[in-house]
């Protein structure tokens, strides 16, 4: 591996070894335990945020969106579970992730989802909370819901790609 002048991969690896993360993740049940927590978190995110996105897109009419929105903190807990376990994966094998375009795309999609969420709270949340349970939300809200759901589904797809092609040069146009 050539030295990376932007990110010190070896320092990250050393951090993983010194903190015991590398040892835990390479123990018999370390990696599958972290993977399980990662996927439960992802499903919690889909339950709270993904279903809210679908409701904004017009699915499950009759559910008041202001009430459904109360489950979003639960999705945030799921997201934190994903981030925490994702950190363990990353620290244990930084070279497998940093230079993997599937991981890079996954991070980019998470950033887009974050910006989309900020846009929702800045411009649309108040309007959505006043919509009646049987009414269709404004077009802007439906579009934000679609972008959010598409991003999280893309995150799932990229997560799968990470494990299959390390790195997937044959489909990566920027590698």
């Amino acid at each position: 591996m050539q030295p990376d002048h932007l990110i010190d991969v070896f320092a990250i690896e050393k951090f993983g070894i010194d903190t015991g993360i590398f040892g835990f993740m390479n123990s018999k049940w370390g990696w599958p335990t972290a993977e399980s927590i990662h996927f439960i978190g992802l499903n919690m995110l889909m339950a709270a945020v993904g279903m809210f996105d679908l409701r904004m897109m017009g699915v499950a009419k009759g559910i008041r969106m202001s009430a459904l929105h109360r489950l979003v903190p639960f999705g945030v807990v799921g997201w934190l579970m994903c981030v925490g376990t994702g950190f363990l994966f990353f620290v244990s094998a930084p070279g497998q992730y940093l230079y993997n375009p599937a991981w890079q795309t996954k991070m980019a999609l998470m950033a887009v989802a974050g910006c989309n969420m900020a846009l929702f709270y800045a411009t649309t949340a108040n309007a959505v909370h006043t919509v009646g349970p049987d009414d269709l939300p404004p077009t802007r809200a439906r579009l934000i819901g679609f972008v959010s759901l598409a991003c999280w589904l893309g995150v799932i797809i990229c997560g799968r790609l990470i494990t299959f092609f390390r790195p997937p040069y044959h489909w990566c146009v920027w590698c």
Partner: protein, 162 residues
Amino acid sequence: MTDIFAWIEQTPFSIWLREDLYAFFVVLIFHSLGMAFLVGGGMVICLRVAGLASGARLEKFRGFFPVMWIGLVMAVCSGVLLLWSYPAKALTNPVFALKFILLISAGVMMGVIAKRLFPLAERGEALPGWARWAGIGTFVLWAAGVTAGKFLPYTHHVLMVS
């Protein structure tokens, strides 16, 4: 059974699923997306049954059932293909049976919630005391089913093809 597994694994379709550059991971992607819709939809209903988001009418959560059905079809179809790729690896692993028991139990509980609790909510009647525990228990079943699925690649002890 080993002969049957070996026969399946030597069919051209099984070989193609394992050895094609894209086939196996495309199937896995569909399985993950299907599980996300199925379990995500199931979990949000469980949370409501457990007493969260009480301002939302419970029976209206049946609007998420079509999402779960789409997820189930995706997960089952892709699951059959995964099974066709590695039948010996999966069907000799007790964790595979555990995954099925957990997910089928969660599905049965969703049926109980739909048949017993949604009509009560529709009539504006109070939910029975066990409803909250049914929500929590079913949520745990979904999470445990996902966990069993993630442990599958690490717990197999028979692998007749690579």
